[in-house]
Symmetry: C2
Subunit: 215 residues, 2 copies
């Protein structure tokens, strides 16, 4: 089993980093191969711009969609994109772990998706490759998130609303759109203030969930 | 009327730029003052990291939430953040315009929110300043977006689902959360391929909508 772990937290001593390390250790114990994209540590460039395309199709006007389609066909993305695409192709499963910023990904992870899940690579609207026929079909994905808000805020009738509904733009419109089979999200609520005891419990609970998935 | 126009498209000759220019011209005709944050042109930094904090509260471990709370209190954010916060304070209304990337903001705009709508500035979970008591209360906001997908994909029962439901994580959990009064989103569907005629129609329709709001 090949696992690509895409991770976005700035601090190696954070709860998120502890969770990520525990997951990787548990995968390696099973004999799985894990490759980590630690986005802040890599100083990953999140902005999709002209520099992403080594052989632009048009130089007078920049159309990101056309350039992505062209570079997907010809393999002419900038090196950092090609590297991440190679990891995606290699992976049987992709885990995205991040603290929620405004019920979404931190910009650095959103930029990973904007640049790596390019049309022509992850989906193709021209050939109707999406959802059932998405180009990443056969692979699995899962999001692992922590929230500052308590669970009651993210429940049906809570101030924010049902988090699973709110995250459909990621789980459905992004990951399933690319053909990925999406496993239930792993969510740690109220992660802003946690006792050491609770950190331990959350780590155990996450590793147990991973073990139950990969039996 | 003071309008802050936060804009994210790489190409000055794009449809999005045309739409933005038309809006600004129409505002100026009315005698409103418009300030533009053209994020790609500004080379706006989307990544929230240690460099955002001129006088960090902790140097041994980086906790973004605590640093943002502290810098909001003391006014010690990096200069680019302080500049944008000053524009937000000045504005009666903020317009966010962007092409949808994966039913969300391009990373560069997501990073504007991650860094500018900081706790202690836009909301404050410690003092329960959110929604009705959000710190930007009294101001208005609106999102103006273009989609590659056709409207049928983004309708109830469509492949993606109802776009207004999908965008609630922005309109409700982000903008209303900060206390902003959110106006109905302006959406241009299927913006990938447009005839010159349709571009003209879309520009007229957008300016008319803005005129109907600001009477």
């Amino acid at each position: 089993m090949n696992i690509l772990y895409v991770f976005a937290h700035q601090e190696p001593k954070s709860f998120n980093s502890t969770l990520k390390e525990a997951a990787i250790t548990s995968f390696e114990k099973k004999g799985y191969t894990v490759r980590l994209s630690d986005l802040y540590a890599m100083e990953f460039k999140p902005v999709l711009d002209r520099a992403d395309f080594l052989q632009p199709k048009k130089t007078d006007i920049f159309n990101p969609f056309l350039e992505q389609m062209n570079a997907s066909k010809k393999g002419t993305f900038a090196l950092d994109i090609m590297n991440e695409m190679e990891k995606v192709k290699w992976a049987d499963m992709i885990i995205f772990q991040f603290p929620i910023y405004f019920t979404g990904m931190p910009a650095i992870m959103k930029g990973w998706l904007d640049r790596i899940f390019a049309p022509g690579f992850a989906f193709n609207p021209v050939n109707q490759n999406a959802y059932e026929t998405g180009l990443l079909k056969g692979k699995k994905a899962m999001i692992v998130i922590s929230t500052g808000a308590e669970e009651s805020w993210y429940s049906k009738g809570g101030q924010h609303g049902d988090i699973h509904e709110l995250l459909r733009y990621i789980t459905h419109c992004t990951l399933e759109y690319a053909g990925l089979e999406v496993l239930p999200s792993h969510i740690v609520f109220g992660a802003g203030k946690m006792s050491e005891e609770r950190v331990g419990e959350e780590v155990r609970s996450y590793v147990e969930k991973l073990n139950s998935i990969f039996t």
